[in-house]
Amino acid sequence: MTLDRNHYECIVRLENLQLNYGKVEALKNISFEVKNNEIVGLIGDNGAGKSSLIKVITGVEKPTRGKLFVRDKEISFKGHSVKKVHDLGIETVYQTSSLGEKQSLWRNFFVGRQIKNRWGLIDVQKEKTIAQEMLLEKIGFRGVGITVDSPISELSGGERQGVAIGRAMYFDADLIILDEPTVALSLKEVAKVLNFVREIKDSGRSCIYIEHNMYHVYEVCDRFVILDRGEVVNVIEKHEISLNQLNEYLLSLSTKKSV
């Protein structure tokens, strides 16, 4: 799965994407793109459509209509699935639901992409060895009593994000989607996650970063896409706006809504 990260302009591009749940329009005619090696902050209130949009990109939901391009090539929504999106090099780290609580760390690492031996069974030894390497080198758990056999329920919030993020890194994703990764984390752990977002950029990958905390978003993102009630209402480059202006703009949006 070695991917040449230079031959495309946009890792993901959406054209006129519509998603209806019955009569409710969750996404209205959305168009937006994530360029090669770009970090896009997806901003919007609860119910603005962030989650729906992410579900479409990650293959959990099929849109009512619209087009999806990955690395400038159109992807058919026929047979659109999480697995297919994984194979395209897109990984997601969810705020809470990325890991199975009762399952061991090594199972969580490889679930859905098991390493199999010649009998078609899971190669437990190999999976554990790789998970162990990742644990020590990339995620940096040292001497905290966590092993690859520990169930996720014994990990702290930050450690969990570390595992989910390490997993995305290991599978060499070109686009990593972070869905509110710093919710309920301590300051020290937030710093770790933000560092990881910078690492995504440094390693030539792209990222969609969803977060309510504007300080975090502004710090790491190159561009902001603002969603409101299922629509893209604005796209702003970082150099066009200061953090204060961004905050004021968002505040004005929500006041407009309540009037």
């Binding site: 699935s81 999480v82 697995k83 009762k102 399952q103 679930v111 905290v144 014994e154």
Partner: protein
Amino acid sequence: MQSNDTNAINGAGSGKDPEIRTHIGKWARIEGLPIILVFLGLIGLFMIAAPKTFLGYYIYMSFLSTIPPPLILGLGLTLIIAGGEIDLSFPSIIAFAGFVFAYLFKNYQWTWAAFILTILAGIIIGLINGLIITKIGMPSIIATLSTGFFWTGLTVVFSGGLSYNIAELEKLNIYEFFVHRIGGIFPVQSLWALGIAVILWFVLNRSAFGEHILFMGDNLQVAKVVGINVDRTKIVLFVLMGALSAFAGLLLTIENTTFWATQGSGFLLIVMAAVFIGGTSIFGGQGIIVGTFFGSFIVGSIEAGIVATGIQGFYTRLVVGLVLLVAISFHLFMEKPEKRAILANFFKFHR
């Protein structure tokens, strides 16, 4: 002592004391160990209380012929419960499968063809369960309750509520193949059950399908986002349960060389009891095949044990209930790391 306790709790909870964590880990990692000990203890108790019966081999051979059908059901149910689902329809499959086999044998003298069609019937019933649960979105407890009634009812309607005597089966090789007594004493169906247990252990613990079952039972949302085809996994799971139930029904019918319209109706609660005594969590996400194996033997031996000790047979269910309560309390205790640590500390202190 007081401060020791607190340390242990903190250690296991926050990971500051790796020594305790690994110490407990190793101890608890032998699958089904507590339940194996309970089983041995129970047999030991019976040996003391009823030495005449329990020091001979005959009673054990009897267990090995009667326990395989509920054991096979329990193994299948372990996977279902690990996947966060439940199946209440397997007793009806025992009846229906027995009917299909007995009917085909009695009327057409089919043996192996009847065997294959019976398994197929189980697969179809399982498939119907799976489709109702995934495509209609009915909770499995309701879906299988309904289909259970339906197939039991259909069995009674088709058979006219009668029993079929198929004693001619005893001369045929299918009888030998499934319920032969090796050396005149050892029931071969116990080897079938053991084989299925080994296979299902690998299915649950070492196959991608098994891992998908575990994640599905753990958290359905997580299962979806990591790319598991949840509907397909559920359907395959119920098909597997259907096939296993049909096979259990066959063993029962062939062993008895009789089909009863009501066969299997007593299995629902004892099979569930065996699974939970074995340590499989009702909350899903985890299943203990070894536990179910010994849990089935515990439940299966309690009745014979109680009768042999001279206590009235009426006490059987009461004792099963008590064993169930104690076993599950123990398992719940073991699930919490901080409580495990207290337990370990307790043993350390007394060593």
